[in-house]
């Protein structure tokens, strides 16, 4: 589904990602964990064309992003990639000037040319699925953080992406609200949604993910099924990180 090959990313002289590559298989969930500043979020943003990178490639279906991909010149390519791969942000990024329902139907009506009625119908089902069927006409500012993130997930789902990238979706939430969001994500995983999740939730990585990556210092230092990685970590960085995370 998503193939990343030897991805490298620099900010000026600062190397953020120093060569990372792996596949995300269809219908599976990959989690990325690791210390702050390890390049997790940047990596995810490269996959969706929100950041350019200096080496390697990202292949999504028949589309390929390379260092030469230009956001202006290759706008159509990027649009095609984003149609296949959705993105959920740490800060939700709901559109504050629109109601919940308007947030959901904006892209289907504008991008897919779907009729408002049809889009509303699908959106209503998704809102029910994330437990917000009573909030159609609410404004984002009137929702709690957990509710906002669930709207954001529904907004991504309404475009029926083949895969969804989650960038620390619960980091801005308190534990109760984080639980609501993780529950929704767990349900999605059970339904076979392909997902790549950068997370601080060890619980999610252990219980939901099919595979876990530990990013540190620009490398994918260790990856494997959660039982192996959590049960018998091989790399010193992984051990240190898990110990730290365990304390937290």
């Amino acid at each position: 589904m998503i193939t990343v090959e030897n991805l490298k990313k620099r900010h000026g002289s600062l190397e953020i990602i120093k060569g990372i590559g792996f596949n995300v298989e269809k219908g599976t969930v990959d989690a990325i964990i690791g210390p702050s500043g390890g390049g997790k979020s940047t990596f995810l943003r490269c996959l969706n064309g929100l950041e350019r990178f200096q080496g390697g490639s990202v292949t999504i279906g028949e589309h390929k992003l390379t260092p030469e991909t230009d956001p202006k010149r290759d706008a159509a390519l990027l649009q095609a990639v984003r149609r296949k791969v959705g993105f959920v942000f740490q800060q939700f990024n709901l559109f504050p000037h629109l109601t919940v329902m308007e947030n959901l139907i904006e892209a289907p009506t504008q991008v897919l040319g779907e009729s408002v009625e049809s889009a509303r119908e699908r959106a209503a089902k998704l809102l029910e699925r994330v437990g917000l069927e009573k909030k159609h006409d609410a404004r984002p500012k009137d929702l709690s953080g957990g509710q906002q993130q669930r709207v954001a997930i529904a907004r991504t789902l309404v475009m029926q992406p083949e895969a969804i990238l989650f960038d620390e979706p619960t980091s801005a939430l308190d534990p109760v609200m984080a639980g609501e969001v993780l529950k929704v994500m767990e349900d999605l995983a059970k339904e076979g949604q392909t997902m790549l999740v950068v997370t601080h939730s060890m619980h999610f990585a252990r219980e939901v993910a099919n595979r876990v990556h530990v990013f540190a210092d620009g490398f994918d230092v260790e990856c494997g099924p959660p039982e192996a990685l959590f049960g018998d970590p091989q790399h010193a960085t992984t051990k240190a990180f898990l110990q730290q995370a365990g304390k937290g």
């Binding site: 969706n48 064309g49 929100l50 202006k72 706008a75 990027l78 649009q79 984003r82 149609r83 959705g86 993105f87 942000f89 800060q91 990024n93 709901l94 559109f95 504050p96 000037h97 904006e106 892209a107 504008q110 991008v111 404004r139 984002p140 500012k141 954001a152 907004r155 991504t156 475009m159």
Partner: protein
């Protein structure tokens, strides 16, 4: 290569066409059936000023003169309002045919414009306060108090030049204060802020009844001539006007007109000898023509009425002030939406457009913000015709205001757009929206909500800036105030009326803006 040549050719033509198109202005006047003459009502009486009983019409000895001139040319007169120091530009750009508004005959003006023979001989009259310390010219040299006397003059007039020379002499004890209106200085002398004023004899004589506290000091000094000016090279029109002046001098029409306004004096006898002399300058026919010496008219004399006060001012001028406020509203409401559209386009272009577009757009903004609106209007109205682009005064006002304010608007929108977190654009893009869609549907609508207060602020500012359009001959509220206050001296009442009207126009907008803010939920 070929199209570069074509571009060059187009450029050459753009400059050449006006010269080719320059028709004989006299023929133009005849075919139009109208003599368009320009002056500034703000100069006040007795030249051109609003009628007391119908302030939308003008009266004055030059209005009478223009009517007679038109008769000689067998056409109708039409008055055109312009700013006094810009009248020459109006003639140069063919927006009017002739300047007829107390323009002194000076070498500088003769360089740029074509003068007629004089139609009036003016002097400069020193006016002092009755019982004031300064009583004579001599007091300006040896003021016993030892402090410098302050003398008021009209900016750019011959009186100003004369006074500056006089006070520049080593033993002089006076200084010059420049004013924009003729009668302002007379009031200031009366109230004691100035010690004296030097005025052209027509003004000094005409307004004497309005200023009983003033008295003339000595005889007029510094004789000069009022002439009409046409555009350079328009000798046919100049000759036709000269012929009419000679005939009117000889048959007594000039004298009758000047007596009517109380400005005929001994100095005018020189007009006779001037017209006699003009036979040597191609006006032989008019000089020798048989004229019937007109009998003196049965003393139809124009007097300034007593200064109106209080409610009488509101009653007499309320109507015309409202009318002028209407023009202010139309100008503001037509130019501001344009400014918003252009400004939004510029802001989006600068933030999201291609790199090569950003520099010219930044230049546009800086240039328009960094130069006065008045100059921009002047450029549009007086300089564009030089390259063959003529825009009517009304549209010049609209376009000028729109372009000027678009620069300010664009900066507001730029700030507003930059205040939208980048996550908003990213979220829209990640949903598959194109950049244009994301900007138009997600970023701009949010920015618009943020910028409502500063935009309303700008709109109110534009409302008041509409006053600058008087430079392109439009008479809106502020100009009307100046014109009326100059001719009626009812400044306090007119000022109250003007301020009241501006407030009545701008306050509702503040209220509407607050409503919109609340409805859009700007706090989101």
């Amino acid at each position: 290569m070929a199209h570069r040549f074509a571009a060059l050719l187009a450029l050459v033509f753009a400059f050449a066409v006006p010269t080719l198109a320059r028709a004989d202005q006299l023929a133009e006047v005849r075919s139009r059936g109208e003599l368009q003459w320009c002056g500034d009502q703000e100069g006040g009486g007795p030249y051109v000023f609003p009628k007391e009983d119908d302030p939308s019409q003008v009266t004055g000895f030059e209005v009478d003169l223009a009517a007679k001139l038109a008769q000689y040319l067998k056409v109708k007169p039409r008055f055109m309002q312009g700013q006094w120091d810009k009248l020459g530009d109006l003639v140069k750009t063919k927006k009017c045919d002739v300047v007829l508004n107390g323009y002194e005959f000076t070498p500088e003006r003769n360089e740029a414009l074509e003068p007629t023979i004089p139609y009036y001989v003016y002097g400069l009259q020193l006016l002092v306060r009755k019982g004031g310390a300064v009583k004579t010219w001599g007091d300006l040299k040896s003021n016993p108090g030892g402090t410098k006397a302050k003398i008021g003059v009209l900016t750019g007039s011959a009186a100003a030049t004369k006074m500056e020379e006089y006070c520049g002499e080593s033993n002089a004890l006076c200084e010059v204060a420049s004013y924009d209106g003729g009668t302002d200085t007379m009031r200031e002398v009366e109230t004691g802020k100035l010690d004296a004023t030097l005025q052209d004899t027509p003004i000094a004589n005409f307004y004497a009844p309005r200023f009983p506290g003033l008295q003339p000091s000595g005889a007029p000094v510094g004789k000069g001539y009022y002439v009409m000016y046409v555009a350079k090279g328009e000798s046919a029109l100049r000759d036709a006007l000269n012929e009419a002046i000679v005939l009117m001098t000889r048959n007594g029409e000039l004298e009758a007109t000047y007596r009517k306004y109380g400005i005929w004096d001994g100095a005018q006898s020189e007009l006779g000898s001037i017209s006699e002399m003009s036979r040597f300058f191609g006006l032989d026919k008019a000089v020798r023509a048989d004229v019937k010496k007109q009998e003196m008219p049965s003393a139809e004399v124009v007097h300034t009425e007593a200064r109106k006060h209080g409610l009488a001012v509101f009653k007499a001028y309320g109507g015309i002030m409202l009318e002028s406020a209407g023009l202010t509203i139309v100008l503001a409401f037509m130019s501001f939406p344009l400014a918003i559209l252009i400004g939004l386009g510029i802001a989006v272009g600068r933030l999201f457009g291609p790199r090569w577009l950003r520099i010219p757009l930044a230049g546009y903004v800086e240039f328009l913000r960094g130069t006065p609106l008045m100059l921009q209007l002047y450029f549009l109205f007086f300089l564009l015709p030089e390259v063959g682009i003529t825009i009517p005064a009304f549209w010049t006002g609209i376009i000028g205001l729109a372009i000027n304010y678009s620069a300010y608007e664009s900066e507001i929108y730029r700030a507003g757009l930059q205040a939208i977190p980048p996550g908003q654009l990213e979220a829209a893009l990640s949903l598959g929206m194109s950049r244009a869609q994301a900007i138009r549907r997600i970023v701009v609508p949010q920015a618009v909500r943020i910028v409502i207060p500063p935009v309303v602020n700008d709109f109110i500012a534009l409302f008041k800036d509409t006053s600058v359009v008087s430079v392109v001959t439009l008479v809106e509220l502020t100009k009307r105030f100046s014109v009326l206050s100059m001719s009626t001296q009812a400044t306090v009442e007119l000022m109250a009326m003007t301020a009241g009207l501006y407030l009545m126009m701008s306050y509702p907008m503040s209220v509407v803006a607050q409503r919109i803010e609340q409805r859009l939920g700007v706090s989101a």
